[in-house]
């Protein structure tokens, strides 16, 4: 191998390391932007290695990967184009070099090269500094689970921005992730001491959490959440093997609605059944539901439970499901999509619905302990008002 330093050579890096960094940073790069600089990733090389950063100004992802740096450098390359090429390069070492205003990637032991136009890096947005931050530390897999069990219930309607995020709050004894869109709610709790949590907590945009959950599940060290003093930014940092991954985001301004007051305290009717049986029934019957309202009907009559749906356009269907229920007969309507999302995110096989009337919030809970005994989960779902419901 030719070891002489060629002109303009900046650093040498493994293709796999570069691809990981660029791929993750790309997650925060907007598809299109009037500012060409924002469609770039920033490459920064110094003694720590190569840092690749992408941002849409709301969410910033920054990944530090090891490499052999010859000359420290900062430059911005078009993110998608760069990623597209790096992805296809053969495994092994690649060398980044500066050729005038272009970034040159040499690969395959001198077999080939690729050149990219660069943008002036000085204007690239700064990664937010989280001054005097409070700190929370959660194991990666637990964080990924809590995100998965809550984030689906966020709203994407801009009218109530608070509901576009997940409320992360707690005390020195537990941390809770809560999300609701006003029609359903999910509250995921993990017991333990995790750091500087407050009751008011912070609202983290759902969008950020989807990229966080990706690296949290593969994290090899606990994930550190740092919340800036003004509570306007949050940073997530962890190690994935040799890689350091960081995600920064603007927090959603609170206050979060007082969700605890909507959790019913006295729902006397308990319907206990198999989650997989119910998922099957709802999934089949919902094929007959109105595509808009997704309305299905729970019928509880004489101790028998069935799920049904009927529309002028899509016909009708009914399936009975074995269940334990002692209570007055009742019928209650639900949006099948909301229900399935809840059911699919409960990890136990037995579940219980705690109901009161066909117009009030129902609780859906796992029966027995979760696979991780120090975790809890509670879901709420509001019914669809049926024009002719009984009970």
């Amino acid at each position: 191998m030719d070891t002489t330093i060629q002109q303009g050579e900046l650093l040498t890096i493994q293709q796999g390391d570069l691809l990981f960094a660029v791929g993750r940073a790309l997650g925060s790069v907007p598809q299109k932007n009037a500012q060409p600089l924002l469609t770039c990733v920033l490459l920064e090389a110094d003694k720590d290695g190569l840092r690749v950063t992408g941002t849409d100004l709301d969410v910033t992802t920054s990944v530090l990967v090891p490499c052999a740096v010859r000359t420290p450098v900062r430059m911005a390359v078009p993110a998608r184009h760069f990623h597209e090429v790096i992805r296809k390069l053969p495994r092994g070492a690649v060398t980044l070099a500066q050729a005038g205003s272009q970034c040159e990637v040499r690969y395959g032991d001198g077999k080939g090269w690729s050149k990219f136009h660069t943008q002036p890096a000085d204007d690239f947005p700064r990664v937010p500094e989280l001054k005097a931050a409070s700190k929370i530390t959660i194991e990666g897999d637990a964080l990924a689970r809590m995100i998965e069990r809550s984030a689906y219930a966020t709203s994407d309607e801009p009218a109530r921005p608070q509901l576009n995020g997940v409320l992360v709050h707690g005390t020195d004894k537990f941390v809770t992730f809560v999300a609701t869109d006003g029609h359903r709610l999910s509250r995921s709790t993990r017991k333990g001491a995790f750091g500087d949590l407050t009751k008011d907590g912070v609202i983290v945009p759902a969008r950020v959490l989807s990229s966080v959950s990706k690296f949290a599940s593969e994290a090899t060290s606990p994930v550190e959440l740092r919340i800036a003093d003004g509570k306007n930014h949050i940073g997530f940092a962890t190690q994935v093997g040799e890689y350091q991954v960081q995600v920064f985001a603007r927090l959603i301004e609170g206050p979060y609605p007082n969700y605890e007051q909507v959790i019913p305290k006295d729902n006397p009717r308990a319907l206990t059944l198999s989650r997989t049986d119910l998922v099957e029934a709802v999934d089949i019957v919902a094929s007959h539901a109105d595509s808009n309202t997704q309305q299905i009907r729970f019928s509880l009559r004489g101790g028998k439970f069935s799920v049904s749906s009927a529309t002028a356009d899509f016909g009708a269907g009914e399936q009975s499901v074995e269940a334990e229920y002692a209570g007055d007969d009742m019928e209650i309507g639900y949006n099948a999509r909301y229900l399935l999302q809840i059911l699919r995110n409960i990890p136990t096989e037995r579940i219980v619905f705690r109901l009161k009337t066909s117009l009030s919030a129902g609780i859906v809970e796992p029966v027995g302990a979760l696979p991780q005994a120090d975790e809890e989960l509670l879901c709420l779902i509001m019914p669809l008002r049926l024009p002719d419901a009984v009970g």
Binding site: E157, T180, G182, H183, L185, V262, D290, N292, T293, Q295, T311, A312, D313, G333, N335, Y338, L359, A361, L380, M382, P383, L384, R385, L386, P387
Partner: protein
């Protein structure tokens, strides 16, 4: 082996005779035998319905009221009372729905019913239609004319020719023969421009239209031309759609006697529209995903604005406030103008199943209020109860 002869398709078109006038005469029997015009009295009002006695003088619906009164100064003008018309219309449709499972409403006073295979004998459809006519006459006091034929098009043409208070049963297989001598304008959907082109080509009757060369029709009118000729031959496969699909929107509009500039007054009118639309939606167990506003300036520039909601609307309150904010939006975009006409519509209708939210106390309250108001009006009439903000006299 013999192949049983297929059951012939029999479609009936029911059309209530001078519907608004007939309802007014039930309310006020002194109007019987008099020339009656239903409509407003304002300078821009139009005739909604003219009685046969007024038609003799050349009065007809959609005519400016001032013109109708010039033709027939002795006519009695009655302001429309849509609440009564709707009640009568519901009774009419209920009778038809008992006559056939397939009924499609095409207005307050018109409906198609598929009578194919009804009854045991060949004249079963005709007997069913006659029985429905008797019930509408006996139970509602209204005269309804019926056309029965092998298709919707021919049934409609036949009901027109059955008026007043008659039945025209076009014999099975005789649709083309029935249409042949009729003038072009009798064919539904044949517009004045198409009629002009056909007349220029020497075509006077539907029989002549039916025999035109398809290539000429295609070249002159496009594919629409082929459809016209086919329907002139009595061929129209369009089925009768059950009402579940038929109604796609509910709307109300009003033209003011004098242009209105007062924003509060406009909001009041929108609220009155919302009140009626809401009652309609609730009665038919539907909700609207989209609310539209229609406004016309004095120079006849007409605007429509719409808003679509994730949660379908039904309460008067929701419809009214959606209308008010569309009006605000229109004024912001187009500037404030005097308003000649204002209308509110509910479209994109979906089944009545509303996803409740945790904070729906207010919504449930509004729904209960609406239901209570609807019930009181059902029992004591539309004027029994008004919301504080709605104007009592809407048709001035």
């Amino acid at each position: 082996m013999t192949i049983p002869s297929p059951i012939p398709r029999r479609i009936a078109h029911f059309d209530l005779d001078t519907f608004f006038v007939a309802v007014e005469r039930l309310k006020d029997p002194t109007l019987v035998g008099q020339p009656v015009l239903v409509g407003g009295r304002g300078p821009r009002s139009v005739v909604a319905t003219a009685s046969y006695e007024a038609r003799v003088f050349g009065c007809h619906s959609a005519q400016p009221m001032t013109q109708a009164l010039r033709l027939c100064p002795q006519a009695i003008v009655v302001p429309p009372d849509f609440a009564s018309y709707r009640t009568a219309s519901e009774g009419f449709h209920a009778v038809l729905r008992e006559a056939s499972p397939l009924v499609e409403s095409v207005g307050l006073d018109e409906a198609y019913a598929d009578l194919t295979g009804i009854g045991v004998a060949a004249d079963g459809p005709r007997e069913a239609a006659e029985a429905a006519r008797r019930r509408v006459r006996g139970e509602l006091g209204l005269a309804v004319s019926v056309g029965i034929a092998g298709s919707r098009t021919v049934a409609k043409v036949a009901s027109d020719r059955a008026k007043p208070d008659g039945v025209l049963d076009v014999p099975v297989g005789g649709d083309a023969v029935f249409l042949a001598p009729l003038p072009l304008r009798d064919l539904p959907f044949l517009g004045p421009r198409a009629e002009e082109r056909l007349r220029a080509a020497g075509v006077r009757t539907l029989g002549q239209l039916a025999q035109l060369d398809e290539r000429w029709l295609l070249a002159t009118f496009g594919s629409h031309g082929l459809g016209l000729a086919r329907r002139a031959r009595g061929i129209d496969p369009e089925p009768v759609h059950s009402d579940a699909r038929a109604a796609v929107s509910v709307s109300r509009e009003v033209t003011f006697g004098e242009d209105v500039t007062d924003l509060d007054r406009l909001r009041q009118v929108l609220r009155a529209h919302a009140e009626e639309i809401g009652a309609d939606l609730r009665a038919s167990e539907r909700r609207a995903r989209t609310v539209t506003l229609k406004a016309r300036w004095p120079d006849f520039t007409t605007f429509t604005r719409g808003a679509t909601f994730g949660q379908p609307l039904q309460t008067t309150e929701q419809l009214s406030s959606a209308g008010a904010s569309l009006l605000d939006q229109l004024f912001v975009q187009e500037g404030r103008h005097p308003v000649r006409l204002i209308g509110l519509g509910a479209t994109n209708l979906v089944e009545d199943a509303v996803q409740l939210g945790f904070e729906d106390g207010r919504l449930l309250h509004d729904q209960q209020l609406d239901r209570a108001i609807d019930e009181i009006r059902d029992r004591f009439g539309n004027d029994a109860l008004w919301r504080g903000l709605a104007p009592r006299r809407r048709w001035r």
